[in-house]
C-alpha cells in the first residue's frame, strides 16, 4: 500500500469518526451498515478478487460470525466476541475451502453454494446455539461494565474495524503472500512453475477471507441485536458478489465503493420517490433499477466503480498543465 493511500484512509476514517457523535441515529446506522458491508466485501474480494476463488458462501460465513459473537456477547465476553466470531468463521471457511484444492472455477463456486445452503440449514436446526428459526437475541456487549448500545458507538466501532481490515489487506497485498494470491488467480500452473505452494496460498486466502467475513457478521449481529437464519440467506451472498463487481474486483478501495453503492442505492431511490411524491411506484422499481445498474456496469464498466474513479482522476490530472500522463498514474490492479 502506498503511503499516500494509507494517509487518505486514516484521514477519511478520522473524519468519519470525528463527525459520528453529531449524527442522528438513522445516519449513524447507515454508516454502520455501509462499514459492515464494506468489511464483508473486502473479505470476499480477498478470496475472489485477489485469489480468484469464486464463493457464494459469504453470507453463511457471516452468519457463523454473528452466532458465535452473539453467544459470546450473551456470555459476557464483550468485544472479544468479535475476533472470536472471526476465528469461528475462518475455521469454517478453511473447511469449505478444502474442495478448492481439487475443484476450480464454476465447480468450486457450486461447492460453496452447497456450503451456503448446508450452513443455512444448520442455523435453523442447531437450536441450542442458534435458537433455530426464531433467531438468537444478542445482548449489547459491555466494556468495563458499560453496555455499548448506542448507534453512534456501533458506527465508530464498525468504522474502526473497517479501517483495520482495509489497511491490513493493503499491507498484505505488498507481501509475498499477497503477490502469490495474484499469481494463483491468474494461472495456477504458472504459479506452481514459479515455486508458489498453491494449496498453501489458497489455505491462507480462505482463512483470512473467512476471518474478515466473521468480523463483519459479528458486527452485524451486535448492531442488529439479532442473528437469525433469514438474515444470512443466499440472497445476501449474491449482494456481496454484486458489491465487488460494482466496486471493482481485486482493488483495495473498490469493494468499499461497491458496498456503499449497493447499500445506499435503495435508500437513494426511496428518497427520490419521496421527493417526487411517488415512493410506492419507485419502491416497486427499486429492485429493477438495482438489477439494471448491475447489468449496465457489467456491459460498460466491468472493472467497476474504481475504474470510473481512476478515469476521472486521469482526466483531472491530464487537464492540468504539467499533469502526469495516463500511463504514469494508472494503478496496477
Amino acid at each position: 500500500m502506498k503511503r499516500a493511500h494509507f494517509i487518505v484512509g486514516v484521514a477519511v476514517a478520522a473524519a468519519v469518526l470525528a463527525v459520528t457523535p453529531f449524527l442522528d441515529r438513522y445516519v449513524a446506522y447507515l454508516v454502520t451498515i455501509v462499514a459492515i458491508s464494506s468489511i464483508g466485501a473486502l473479505g470476499l474480494n480477498l478470496l475472489t478478487g485477489l485469489c480468484g476463488q469464486i464463493s457464494f458462501a459469504q453470507a453463511a460465513l457471516m452468519g457463523i460470525g454473528a452466532y458465535t459473537a452473539g453467544n459470546l456477547c450473551n456470555a459476557g465476553l464483550g468485544l472479544f466476541a468479535i475476533p472470536l466470531g472471526g476465528l469461528a468463521a475462518a475455521t469454517a471457511s478453511v473447511v469449505i475451502g478444502l474442495p478448492a484444492l481439487r475443484l476450480r472455477g464454476l465447480y468450486f463456486a457450486i461447492a460453496t453454494l452447497a456450503a451456503q445452503f448446508i450452513l443455512e440449514y444448520l442455523f435453523k436446526i442447531l437450536e441450542p446455539l442458534t435458537h433455530g428459526i426464531s433467531g438468537l437475541l444478542i445482548r449489547p456487549p459491555t466494556v468495563l461494565g458499560f453496555a455499548i448500545q448506542d448507534d453512534r458507538a456501533y458506527a465508530r466501532l464498525a468504522v474502526a474495524l473497517l479501517f483495520l481490515v482495509w489497511s491490513g489487506i493493503g499491507v498484505l497485498r505488498a507481501t509475498n503472500l499477497g503477490r502469490s494470491f495474484l499469481v494463483v488467480r491468474e494461472n495456477e500452473i504458472v504459479a506452481r512453475g514459479m515455486g508458489i505452494d498453491v494449496a498453501r496460498t489458497k489455505f491462507w486466502a480462505f482463512l483470512l477471507s473467512g476471518f474478515i467475513a466473521g468480523i463483519a457478521g459479528a458486527m452485524s449481529g451486535i448492531a442488529s441485536r439479532l442473528a437469525n437464519p433469514e438474515a444470512f440467506s443466499f440472497a445476501l451472498s449474491v449482494d456481496y458478489v454484486a458489491m465487488i463487481i460494482v466496486g471493482g474486483q481485486g482493488t483495495l478501495t473498490g469493494p468499499l465503493l461497491g458496498a456503499a453503492f449497493v447499500t445506499l442505492l435503495p435508500e437513494a431511490i426511496q428518497r427520490i420517490g419521496e421527493l417526487f411524491n411517488t415512493p410506492s411506484i419507485l419502491s416497486a422499481l427499486r429492485e429493477f433499477a438495482f438489477g439494471m445498474l448491475i447489468i449496465l456496469f457489467l456491459i460498460f464498466e466491468p472493472l467497476g466503480l474504481m475504474a470510473v474513479v481512476r478515469k476521472l482522476r486521469l482526466r483531472l490530472t491530464a487537464s492540468k498543465p504539467g499533469g502526469k500522463s495516463p500511463a504514469a498514474t494508472t494503478e496496477a490492479v
Binding site: 487518505v8 463527525v19 441515529r25 451498515i33 442488529s224 416497486a284
Partner: protein, 400 residues
C-alpha cells in the same frame, strides 16, 4: 500524489462522506415541533407483498382524517409509508428514520423478526409501536410496554380453530407448517404448552414442509393415512394453494383444512375454483365491502382516492389506523387540546392512552377494541369458502 495533496483530498472526501451525503434529515421533510407524525413501514415489494393492504389501510385512514375530519384535534397528520422489503437491515434502518428523523409519535412495523430485534430499542425509545405481527413473542405488556399487536396471536388463532373443532365433535387434528419462523414458532408453542390435549383433542401428526414448496403430494398421502378430523395450516396463501391442490389429488377435501388469518385471499377460490369450496379459515377483521359503518367511511374516502388493495388486510390496516388515531386524539385532549411540546412526553401520553382504550367502536371491523392487554381483540370467527366467497360460519370465539 504528494502527502499534502492526499491529505487535502481525504479531508474533503471524508467531510463530504460523513457530513454531506449523510447529513441528518437529508432528503426528509423538516419536522415541526407541533407536528402529528405517524410512520409506517410494510412490505410494498417483497415476499409477502400480497398482504400489503395492511399498510395502505392504516395510511389511508390517517389520510381520511386529514381530508374529511380536518386531521386529529385540528392538526393534519403527516403519514409516511416506507418499504421494509421484509429485510431485517432495511426494517431496522427505517425504524431509526421514523424515530429520529421523522419524530413520529406512533410507529407501525412489519416483520416478526424486526419487531423482536427492536423490542429493547422500542422500550428504550419509549415510542408506541403497532406491530403487524401476531407473534406472542412480541406481546408482553410488562416487559414490552410500548408494543401493541392488532389481534389474536397465531397461537390463539390455532386455539380458536381447535375449539371450533371440539364444538363440532372432532377428536383428532393434524398440523402443517412451513420451515420458517412464522410457520414453526407458533406450532411449537401450542405443542409444548399441551393446548391441543387440554382442548380434549389428539394430535394426529405434524408436517413441516419447505417454505418455497411446489409439490406436497407425498405429505398429503401421509396425511391421508393419519385420517385426522381437521388439518390446521399455519402458512401463507402461496403454500396453501399448493396444499389444497395436492390434497385434491389424493382425495382429501378442502373442507378438512383450516388456515389462519392470512389465508383469506381471493387468489384461493380464483385459482382453485371448486377445489377450494369448503376451505375454512380464521377471520378476525370484517371483509372489504361488508355491511358495516367503517365501510361507509372507506366508501367516502374512495370517492376522492384510489384504494390500492381492496381486501380484508386493508380492513386490518384501517382498524389499526382507527386505534392509533384514537390514542393520539385522547393524548392531545388530555393536554388541553394542544400537542405536547416535547415529543417524548407526547409519545408517553399516547402509550398511556393506548392502554386506556376500552370497548372502542371501530366501525364493526372487529366487535370492539380493548388495548389494556396490548392486543386489541382476542375474538375471531371461522369463515368458509362457499360459491367462491368467504362466508362467516361461526359465532365469535374468544381465544382467552
Amino acid at each position: 500524489m504528494s502527502i499534502i495533496r492526499a491529505l487535502k483530498v481525504s479531508v474533503l472526501a471524508g467531510t463530504l462522506f460523513a457530513a454531506g451525503a449523510f447529513a441528518p434529515g437529508s432528503g426528509s421533510t423538516a419536522v415541526a415541533a407541533q407536528d402529528v407524525s405517524v410512520c409506517l413501514w410494510g412490505t410494498i415489494t417483497g415476499p409477502d407483498a400480497i398482504l400489503n393492504g395492511m399498510s395502505y389501510g392504516a395510511r389511508d385512514y390517517f389520510e381520511y382524517l386529514n381530508q374529511f375530519k380536518g386531521g386529529i384535534a385540528g392538526q393534519k397528520v403527516r403519514t409516511l409509508l416506507l418499504d421494509g422489503r421484509y429485510k431485517l437491515d432495511e426494517e431496522l434502518k427505517i425504524y431509526r428514520r421514523c424515530v429520529d428523523q421523522e419524530q413520529a409519535v406512533f410507529v407501525s412495523g412489519w416483520s416478526t423478526g424486526a419487531v423482536k430485534a427492536l423490542r429493547d430499542q422500542i422500550a428504550q425509545d419509549q415510542i408506541p409501536f403497532m406491530a403487524q405481527s401476531h407473534s406472542s413473542e412480541v406481546l408482553d405488556p410488562v416487559k414490552l410496554p410500548y408494543i401493541f399487536i392488532p389481534g389474536p396471536t397465531y397461537e390463539q388463532q390455532m386455539v380458536i380453530a381447535l375449539r371450533a373443532l371440539k364444538q363440532q365433535g372432532g377428536k383428532t387434528v393434524a398440523v402443517m407448517h412451513p420451515d420458517n419462523e412464522y410457520g414453526r414458532g407458533p406450532v411449537n408453542v401450542v405443542r409444548q404448552s399441551g393446548l391441543i390435549e387440554k382442548t380434549g383433542l389428539k394430535l394426529a401428526d405434524t408436517i413441516e414442509f419447505p417454505f418455497d414448496t411446489q409439490d406436497l403430494t407425498a405429505q398429503m398421502l401421509r396425511l391421508k393415512s393419519r385420517n385426522p378430523d381437521m388439518v390446521y395450516v399455519q402458512a401463507s396463501t402461496p403454500q396453501l394453494l399448493v396444499i389444497l391442490r395436492d390434497a385434491a389429488k389424493v382425495g382429501l377435501p378442502a373442507k378438512l383444512f383450516v388456515g389462519n388469518m392470512y389465508n383469506i385471499s381471493a387468489a384461493i377460490p380464483e385459482q382453485l375454483g371448486k377445489g377450494a369450496e369448503g376451505f375454512r379459515t380464521i377471520q378476525i377483521y370484517a371483509d372489504f365491502g361488508a355491511d358495516i359503518p367503517a365501510m361507509k367511511e372507506i366508501d367516502a374516502f374512495r370517492t376522492k382516492n384510489e384504494i390500492a388493495k381492496q381486501d380484508v388486510y386493508y380492513m386490518k390496516g384501517w382498524f389499526q389506523g382507527i386505534v392509533m388515531a384514537k390514542a393520539i386524539e385522547n393524548a392531545i385532549a388530555k393536554n388541553g387540546g394542544k400537542i405536547p411540546d416535547d415529543i417524548r412526553s407526547f409519545r408517553k401520553a399516547v402509550r398511556t392512552e393506548m392502554t386506556s382504550l376500552r370497548s372502542l367502536d371501530v366501525g364493526g371491523i372487529v366487535p370492539e377494541a380493548n388495548y389494556d392487554t396490548h392486543q386489541g381483540t382476542t375474538l375471531a370467527r371461522i369463515a368458509e369458502i362457499r360459491d367462491g366467497r368467504y362466508v362467516p360460519v361461526s359465532d365469535w370465539i374468544d381465544a382467552r
